[in-house]
C-alpha cells in the first residue's frame, strides 16, 4: 500500500516535470514537501480510490502522508 501511494505521487510529479521522490515518511506534507496543489490532490484521491475503493478526502482534508495511510488502514 505504501509503495502504491508513492507510485501515485510520483506519477503526478512526473506529469508536472518535478523530480521523482525516493521515499516519504508519515510526516511528509503533501502541499509543502511534495508541491501538490488541490488539483493534484484531487487526482491523488481519485487514483487511490480507484485502487482501494476509499475516498481519502470524503471525511475532511488530508495534509500528510501519514494521514493517507491512516485512512487506508481503517
Amino acid at each position: 500500500m505504501k509503495e502504491k501511494v508513492l507510485e501515485v505521487i510520483n506519477m503526478i510529479r512526473v506529469a508536472k516535470n518535478l523530480p521523482l521522490v525516493e521515499s516519504v515518511t508519515d510526516n511528509t506534507r503533501l502541499r509543502e514537501d511534495l508541491d501538490l496543489t488541490s488539483f493534484d490532490m484531487a487526482e491523488l484521491t481519485v487514483r487511490i480510490e480507484d485502487e482501494y475503493g476509499i475516498d481519502i478526502f470524503e471525511t475532511g482534508l488530508v495534509n500528510t502522508i501519514g494521514e493517507i495511510y491512516a485512512k487506508l488502514q481503517k
Binding site: F39, A42, E43, V46, E49, D50
Partner: protein
C-alpha cells in the same frame, strides 16, 4: 466519445441521444423509464446506447447508482449532459417545502454530485471533458408559476460558470444550454392560449426546436467548441 446523458427516456434527452448516436458516439443514458422509442434507438445502434434505470430524486445514492456499476472508471467519460429535470409549477405563496426539496434533488443536488464524479473520471483518465447543463429561459425572463423551477436552473447556471473557472486549467469545460419553450411532456399541461402568449414573446414566434437544442448540446460536447467554456447558450427562438 463516451457521453453520460440524464433524462434520456423522452423529449430533449432522447433527442440528444439520437444526435450523439448519429455522430458515432457511445451514450450512457439514465432515467426511470425506458419507453419503446428509446428501445428503438438501442436496436438501431447496437451496443452504443447503454441504459440504466436510475431515480435521480435519490441524490444520496446517485453515486453508487450511476458510477458504481454503470459508468465505472473503466469507461473513459468525455462528456456529461445534465438534462433530467422536473418543473414544480405553482405560485410562490403556495410553496410546499417537500415538493420544493424534491425538485431540488433532481434538478440540482443529483446533477452536482454527478458532476463531481464525472470530473473525477476525467481526472483519472486525464480527459479534457465537456459538461453541459440544460437550463431554461425562465431564469432570464420571468413567468408566473415558475419561480421555484427557475431558481433551480439559476443554481445550475452559477454552478456551471464556477465549474468552468475551477477546472479550466485541466482543459475541462462546462457550459449551459438555455432552451425556450418546447412542446414536450414537461410543458404538456399548458393551454393553447398560454402557449400562444409564450411564443409571442419570442422573435421567431414559435416553439423552440428540440432538435436545435440537442444539436447545440452535441456541438458543445465536441472539439469544435474547444474554446467555449463558462457560457450560457440561448436556444430560445430569440426570447425577448
Amino acid at each position: 466519445m463516451n457521453i453520460l446523458v440524464t433524462g434520456c427516456s423522452r423529449g430533449v434527452g432522447l433527442e440528444i441521444c439520437r444526435v450523439l448516436l448519429e455522430q458515432g458516439h457511445t451514450v450512457y443514458g439514465v432515467a426511470r423509464s425506458c419507453p419503446q422509442e428509446f428501445k428503438d434507438l438501442q436496436t438501431q445502434y447496437p451496443g452504443r446506447l447503454q441504459y440504466k434505470s436510475v431515480d435521480l430524486s435519490d441524490s444520496e445514492h446517485v453515486r453508487e447508482n450511476v458510477f458504481g456499476d454503470f459508468v465505472t472508471n473503466k469507461v473513459q467519460l468525455d462528456g456529461f449532459v445534465n438534462n433530467a429535470a422536473l418543473a414544480y409549477d405553482d405560485i410562490v405563496s403556495n410553496i410546499n417545502l417537500d415538493r420544493l426539496k424534491g425538485m431540488y434533488e433532481v434538478n440540482v443536488f443529483s446533477p452536482m454530485v454527478m458532476t463531481k464524479y464525472a470530473i473525477r473520471n476525467m481526472l483519472l483518465h486525464h480527459t479534457k471533458g465537456s459538461i453541459v447543463h440544460i437550463s431554461s429561459i425562465s431564469v432570464h425572463t420571468g413567468y408566473k408559476g415558475l419561480a421555484m423551477y427557475a431558481s433551480s436552473k439559476g443554481a445550475l447556471e452559477a454552478f456551471s460558470k464556477n465549474t468552468a473557472r475551477e477546472w479550466g486549467s485541466l482543459g475541462i469545460r462546462s457550459n449551459v444550454v438555455v432552451p425556450g419553450f418546447m412542446p414536450t411532456a414537461m410543458s404538456a399541461t399548458l393551454t393553447d392560449e398560454q402557449r400562444a402568449k409564450i411564443y409571442a414573446r419570442t422573435s421567431l414566434k414559435d416553439a423552440t426546436s428540440v432538435r436545435s437544442v440537442a444539436e447545440t448540446v452535441a456541438y458543445l460536447l465536441s472539439e469544435k467548441a474547444a474554446s467555449i467554456t463558462g457560457q450560457n447558450i440561448h436556444v430560445d427562438n430569440g426570447t425577448i
